[in-house]
Symmetry: C2
Subunit: 344 residues, 2 copies
């Protein structure tokens, strides 16, 4: 493509960003910014269209449901922007559950079915969208996401990457909302059958779920396999900890330890803090577990723990949502590719 047709396309062309989490999926449609300097990005960013839908992690809801959710949320965001699929120049999908090249390939194939071949399609873990929402599209630094699931992901300026956790509930994501809540439910069961200390979690959780007795917890837990349904109990655990319940406090302290450990593992592997461990680097903090903003603030405690090991860590709480981060990543990547082609 010549530069003339590029400019022409860009006038009407749009970029899409998709944030596919374990609880919900959001797609935003932005105009293509015809420059590559992040400092020139308008504030606030113009969002032409936005749509939201349910979970698109196919480990949780299955392949068909995940695919339909992604296709529908994209179609709806375009429709609200008054655009159709042919206006799309680039799209970045940051989807939880993408852990492997074969996962990327699967979603890429779904997208190849709805976009023409010249569209730039980037498929990433949802951590990439979250990081980009704090760095306005650039992949550099570390992001910690703790919502229903949790993951720490880091990138160096020269393109190396590393991740920790993000392995789902079976594989020890104890800092996630699901991990915290399942430990709280376990504490209720253990208090009831004599294996653990009494805890105020029992009455608070039973009341919240409308269950008459701890005997009903097992049936409730397995009645539905949704991870988000379990994770929704996190605010109760935080309330109980704030009221001084030691069992709840121990669960949250353990979550803080696990989350901080994930960040530190990524920073160490990528040498993000430099040789002596004191260099400046950004830690983007995303997700409901870290946004509690209460007396018992999980996010602040994680940062405190990271700062003890790496005093140059700079926490960032993004001002835009991860879907916009995904769109900015698509824009940044596409501009870099265009520039690289232009320099050939």
């Amino acid at each position: 493509m010549g530069s003339e047709s590029d400019e022409c396309c860009r006038g009407d062309g749009v970029i899409l960003g998709v944030d596919g989490g374990t609880t919900s999926t959001v797609c935003v449609c932005l105009p293509l910014f015809p420059f590559s300097d992040h400092r020139r990005l308008p504030d606030p960013l113009p969002v032409l269209g936005r749509a939201a839908a349910g979970c698109s992690n196919y480990n949780s809801v299955g392949e068909n449901a995940a695919r339909v959710t992604l296709e529908q949320v994209i179609a709806e965001a375009l429709s609200r922007a008054g655009k159709d699929h042919s206006a799309v120049l680039a799209v970045c999908l940051g989807v939880s559950g993408v852990n492997h090249p074969s996962d990327q390939e699967r979603i890429l194939n779904w997208m190849r079915g709805i976009f023409s071949h010249h569209v730039k399609i980037y498929v990433q873990n949802d951590a990439v969208a979250a990081l980009a929402s704090g760095t306005m599209g650039k992949l550099h630094g570390c992001v910690l996401i703790a919502g229903t699931g949790c993951i720490a992901y880091g990138f160096t300026e020269d393109g190396r990457e590393a991740r920790a956790a993000g392995a789902g509930p079976v594989l020890g994501d104890w800092g996630s909302g699901y991990g915290i809540a399942s430990r709280a439910l376990t504490a209720v069961v253990k208090a009831h059958d004599g294996r653990g200390p009494k805890t105020t979690l029992t009455n608070c959780i039973l009341e919240s779920l409308g269950l008459p007795s701890p005997d009903e917890i097992i049936g409730w837990t397995y009645a539905d396999s949704s991870w988000a349904r379990i994770a929704a109990l996190v605010p109760i655990v935080v309330s109980c900890a704030e009221a001084g319940d030691e069992v709840a406090e121990e669960i949250l302290n353990n979550a803080v330890h696990e989350l901080a450990l994930s960040v530190k593992a990524v920073v160490k592997r990528l040498h993000l803090a430099g040789k002596d461990g004191t260099d400046y680097f950004q830690v983007v903090m995303v997700g409901g577990v870290l946004e509690a903003n209460k007396t018992w603030d999980i996010g602040n405690k994680v940062i405190d723990s990271v700062l003890k090991a790496y005093p140059g860590a700079c926490p960032i709480r993004p001002k835009v949502e991860p879907a916009i981060g995904a769109a900015l990543f698509a824009w940044d990547s596409m501009m870099k590719e265009t520039e690289a082609n232009g320099h050939r």
Copy 2:
């Protein structure tokens, strides 16, 4: 019914015992022993027919699959015994996942559809079948099952009962085969992403699963929701612990702690060890995790821990399978009901 017709029925009549575990389901068909004295039971017990099938825990496989499995395994055991459903006088189903009166009611309704109204039907947790396999039908003492799942269940002579654990993988059954194996998989992920120490579990598990890299563990774990598939990795964890791997040893020590804690919670709540905690009581030990019979013997370590708290605990490793325990429970319960009716 008069005693004459009772005797007549008993000549041809049979009793069924079903052990419905998380991995497999077994049904046995025994003749009705026309007496109620356990000491008169023949040794070995005559088994007229036996059949095995897959999982019948509906929390794991769903209601329809569980129901079909139970109906088929019963029909096959009867067919192999050369009997039909009309010969059945009593049946006991000990099924994992039965935690609540509504669970019992559901399975009872399934059985009412295939047996006529005069058949005695007992629906219990599979722990009851396991205990009865060690006590030859009597419900007294404590049973610890640790296979794919785990549970401790206790009964007093006057009919009180208590249980601990048996809450499934989401609710902290860390002493189960699933719990041990999922912690081992977690240790591999943590070693790989820098959150945990190196462990020989990594190479041993990857080799066993035919996976080229720890990156593939997440995909393998969520590709199939069967709990038994995960639990099948327990022998690898035991081998690694025997070879001195500290991570594997810590996982097994934690499992021993959790299993012993379950037994002790039940014994304490039921006062099975009497007022001063030294009375004799039986602990029936069942399930693959406890039957390892290796250098690193989980079952023996659990018993050691229980004996420290309750020196009167007497471990029993049953000589018959749990399905026969279920059949003996059906026989024992039916004879007691008949005697009680006769005394009216």
